[in-house]
């Protein structure tokens, strides 16, 4: 019975930070950090116990709206566990990454970040469809307000576009959920899943597209991605990190947890179409990324491309693809936060995000360039980094499902190497100019943060089995369910 603590501790942290940390950035930051770390520690304890077989710790079942049969029902399986772990690890890192700049009303910023954390844990562990929906939406609101309040004028437009898009998708999903609920008279996910296969195919088609729309917008998946580059580029970095590192994962998680099991026949029926869309997005995003001049925009498109591959992996319908997608979610979360952090550091030091005006940073900031290299290699899927395992598994799974699409998707590794190495070359190598001459290297907390992220990149790459084993039973269970159709 620790799951509600893991949700409530960040909320409590948010409240304390809001009340105590007024007009004092370091205090509010420390409170927030402490809150998220306590939550992390509790989670680690519970996760270890969970793996040892004590699954009671991470589940809860209390009535929520008894007359309507809604329950506060949480429980986790391997996939949920990994994603909660991701959010628990990334939130402290995001908080750490904000330490250099002064934010006005910082207590509010940290409170909002912590609220996002709570909501994410809720999304990844909810077992009641409306509880899931509730957290799914609730995670967006604080992220949106971070983008709105600490961004510039452009970001308020871009993030508003994002908000409208995602809410629209979610509302469509809500109709589907209400429909399921009114048919089944229960909101319990497991109960609904067990009856999903008996749903007539026409209904499943409609449900599937409603779900897919919501999650495709959230991820984002081609062609629902138009909000993403602008939102990622213009938002303040904490918001970008939240969006790319964590919120986009809710979309993939939703596909795994809702779309596949609740409309299994349609998911299988339409899988090639979805994979096709995903692969188009993957190639399209990679090609556009090559042409970008702004660092942030480049990372945004690369992120979009990676999300496409994950969707393809999920729909490949075999264990390699699914496991690869789960692993890649973790890897991409870490890498995206790392890359955006580096972009932020470069922008803070030089005042520029433009590749054409940068260069030569490896001379003035050697430590930064080493960390950047590691994270970047993770992102281009070099063996022994975290990106490799996921991409390899997904491509293998995809190849088994559909050879042609698998081969096309394989191209993305080459394209990814092209744009990422171009990014590195244009920033780190070459002649220094007046912008980059006097840049000081990373130090202190920044160095610590980057070291943690780089460590994660390498550790996950060297010992992927530790994580893959956690999610394997859950993935197999899902595939067994789908195989019944």
């Amino acid at each position: 019975m620790l799951i509600h603590l893991i949700i409530l501790i960040p909320l409590a942290g948010a409240l304390i930070s809001l009340l105590a940390g007024k007009n004092n950035q370091s205090l509010s930051k420390n409170i927030a950090l402490l809150g998220s770390l306590i939550s992390l520690v509790v989670f680690i304890y519970a996760a270890i116990q969970h793996q040892a077989g004590n699954t009671e710790l991470l589940s809860l079942n209390k009535p929520w709206l008894p007359e309507m049969n809604l329950a506060l029902k949480f429980s986790v399986d391997g996939i949920s566990l990994l994603l909660i772990a991701l959010s628990q690890v990334l939130i402290p890192l995001i908080i750490l990454s904000t330490s250099k700049i002064e934010y006005h009303k910082s207590h509010l910023l940290y409170a909002l970040i912590l609220v996002t954390q709570s909501a994410l844990v809720g999304v990844f562990s909810a077992k009641d469809i409306f509880l899931f929906y509730f957290f799914f939406e609730a995670a967006l609101v604080p992220a949106y307000f971070i983008a709105l309040n600490w961004g510039n004028k452009e970001s308020s437009k871009a993030s508003f576009k994002m908000f409208i898009y995602t809410i629209f998708g979610s509302l469509i999903m809500l109709v589907a959920l209400v429909f399921l609920y009114s048919k089944g008279q229960t909101a319990d996910m497991d109960a609904l899943i067990s009856t999903a296969e008996f749903m007539p195919s026409g209904v499943q088609r409609a449900l599937f597209w409603a779900f897919l729309l919501a999650f495709a917008i959230k991820m984002p998946l081609f062609p629902m991605h138009t909000w993403q580059p602008d939102a990622y580029t213009t938002s303040p970095t904490p918001a970008t990190m939240l969006l790319s590192g964590l919120l986009s994962k809710m979309g993939v998680y939703g596909l795994i947890r809702i779309a596949l099991p609740l409309s299994p026949w349609a998911a299988e029926h339409y899988s090639v179409i979805v994979i096709g869309m995903a692969v188009i997005g993957l190639i399209y995003g990679s090609i556009i990324a090559i042409k970008q001049d702004s660092i942030k925009r480049l990372i945004a498109y690369s992120s979009f491309a990676h999300m496409g591959l994950m969707a393809a992996g999920v729909f490949s319908g075999n264990i390699e693809g699914l496991q690869g997608a789960v692993f890649q979610m973790l890897a991409h979360g870490v890498n995206a936060v790392g890359l955006f952090f580096v972009a932020k550091i470069i922008f803070e030091r030089t005042g520029s995000r433009s590749l054409s005006s940068l260069g030569g940073l490896n001379k003035t900031a050697p430590a930064l360039s080493i960390f950047f290299m590691i994270i970047l290699l993770g992102s281009v899927a070099l063996p022994l980094t975290n990106g490799f395992v996921g991409e390899f598994l997904m491509l293998k799974g995809l190849f088994e499902k559909h050879q042609l699409l698998g081969i096309i998707a394989g191209l993305s590794i080459i394209l990814g190497a092209v744009y990422m190495l171009r990014l590195f070359q244009k920033t780190m190598f070459g002649e220094s100019n007046e912008l980059t001459e006097s840049v000081e290297d990373v130090s202190g907390i920044e160095k610590l943060t980057l070291a943690i992220i780089s460590g994660l990149v390498i550790l996950m790459g060297v010992f992927p089995n530790v994580l893959l084993k956690v999610s394997e039973p859950a993935s197999e269970a899902l595939l067994n369910l789908l195989a019944k159709i």
């Binding site: 929906y133 509302l171 809500l174 109709v175 209400v178």
Partner: protein, 459 residues
């Protein structure tokens, strides 16, 4: 039952207080009177019964609604502190009318006889006509009052005609006895049902009987706009529910399609109309039309849940509306342009910089009206969707969802403006009472967003 007596008596007392030299006493006394009425409401708790030859029906449900109405009135009246400064204000008359109008609202939620319904609607409406024109120097206010009066009087005529037809067909005004289609009287019954519904839908501003709404909302003093959009709406919907679920329940096949069409119309006209509004009050007027559409949605479901959904929806809508209009009142108090209070959306520009508290209140109110999770508004919408889903009306729900997406666009206009970096506002002072009311409404919105069963479990 007791609040009717209490409010009628204290209304008279308030009038007498107006003769006293010290006008300041009227405001605290009126609040105290309202609190007394609230307390007397609970005398009948757990003692259901009928009063005055089946004229009124009292049970716990109606007591909950009395409490909602009286508390809403108290919260809104709280903003009128300091009204004595205004030259146009006649505090005694105005507070007396408010108390009498509550008598009407209370009758509308507990009537058992159509005469009581008619009198309730009339008492509330006449009070609203007067209050709309309360600011006599404001030419727009006068125009609004006249428009409201003329159209309202017409609607009353239609309502009365419907009731007469109903009486002709059934021989009774009592709503306890169900009626059924068939036989010689069906034509009169149809006419009666249609005309009564038209008269009542006019009062709750459902399209296509909404034409008065934007002008009246804009012209009326903001405090009465708030009163109109909360209390009249809550009472009106309960009255609609009572009529439809008791005496017209046998005619469901007949009015069902009419309500479904009205839901669609209200949602479309309300939401699409709101998009292009620059005046905050007009925006809220169109939003009120669209909320009428959402609440009508609940009437399409099965009747067991509908009342709970209506109750929840009206509470969250009331809380959010009071917040929104309250912020407007506080912010616009000092801004007079061209002899009128400035009430455009860009009044809120830079509010977050200027006064974080008010900005937070406004944002949470807007989020709740837009139906974003973590606020009560989400559950309000969820419950009515659920009700409509139980009768299989998915095309209406999909329409409502599309309109909710549009609604986010216009509800976020004030939010985005308030987050803007530039501001033309001078420093704003909030009096403690207003601050207290804001705290209640905002806190209530959030609490209901997380623990909706607090209200749902009432019945």
């Amino acid at each position: 039952m007791y609040p009717i007596i209490s409010l009628s008596v204290t209304g008279l007392l308030t009038l007498f207080l107006g003769f006293s030299e010290n006008k300041k006493i009227v405001f605290p006394a009126s609040i105290a009177f309202l609190l007394i009425a609230l307390a007397t409401a609970f005398i009948d708790w757990n003692a259901p019964g009928f009063y005055f030859n089946d004229m009124l029906q009292v049970n716990n449900t109606s007591i909950v609604f009395w409490a909602i109405l009286i508390i809403s009135a108290i919260l809104i009246m709280g903003f009128s502190e300091g009204f004595e400064r205004f030259e146009f204000a006649q505090p005694a008359e105005y507070f007396a009318i408010v108390q009498f109008s509550l008598v009407g609202a209370i009758m509308m939620v507990s009537f058992k006889n159509l005469i009581m319904l008619f009198l309730g609607i009339e008492i509330l409406s006449v009070a609203m006509y007067v209050l709309t024109g309360a600011d006599k120097r404001n030419i727009r206010g006068n125009e609004a009052a006249l428009k409201y009066f003329l159209m309202g009087a017409f609607a009353t005529g239609i309502l009365l005609f419907g009731m007469a037809m109903f009486y002709g067909a059934t021989g009774t005004f009592n709503i306890g006895s169900g009626v059924f289609i068939g036989g010689d009287n069906s034509f009169f019954l149809w006419i009666g049902c249609t005309f009564m519904l038209i008269g009542m839908l006019f009062k709750v501003a459902a399209a296509p009987f909404h034409l008065w709404t934007p002008d009246v909302y804009e012209g009326a003093p903001t405090i009465f706009t708030a009163y109109m959009s909360t209390i009249v709406k809550t009472a009106g919907f309960v009255a609609l529910f009572k009529v439809l679920s008791t005496t017209f329940s046998g005619l469901q096949d007949f009015w069902w399609i009419m309500i479904a069409v009205l839901v669609t119309l209200s949602l479309m006209i309300g939401n699409i109309g709101a998009v292009s509004q620059n005046s905050f009050k007009r925006l809220m007027a169109y939003s009120s039309i669209s909320h009428a559409g959402f609440m009508l949605l609940a009437l399409l479901g099965d009747h067991e849940n509908a009342l709970g959904s209506i109750m929840f929806y009206s509470v969250v809508y009331t809380l959010a509306t009071i917040s929104a209009f309250g912020v407007l009142m506080v912010v616009s108090k000092e801004r007079i342009e061209k002899g009128r209070v400035y009430e455009q959306n860009d009044l809120f520009k830079g509010l977050a910089q200027n006064n974080g508290f008010l900005a937070t209140v406004l944002i949470i109110a807007m989020l709740s009206l837009a139906g974003i999770p973590l606020t009560g508004g989400f559950w309000g919408k969820f419950f009515v969707f659920r009700d409509a889903a139980s009768s299989g009306l998915f095309w209406v729900i999909i329409m409502a969802v599309l309109m909710s997406a549009i609604a986010i666009y216009y509800y976020f206009k004030p939010v985005l403006l308030s987050m803007s970096k530039k501001t033309s506002l001078e420093s704003i002072t909030i009096n403690p009472l207003a601050k207290f009311i804001f705290a209640i409404t905002t806190f209530g919105t959030i609490v209901l967003g997380i623990f909706p069963w607090i209200l749902r479990s009432l019945f």
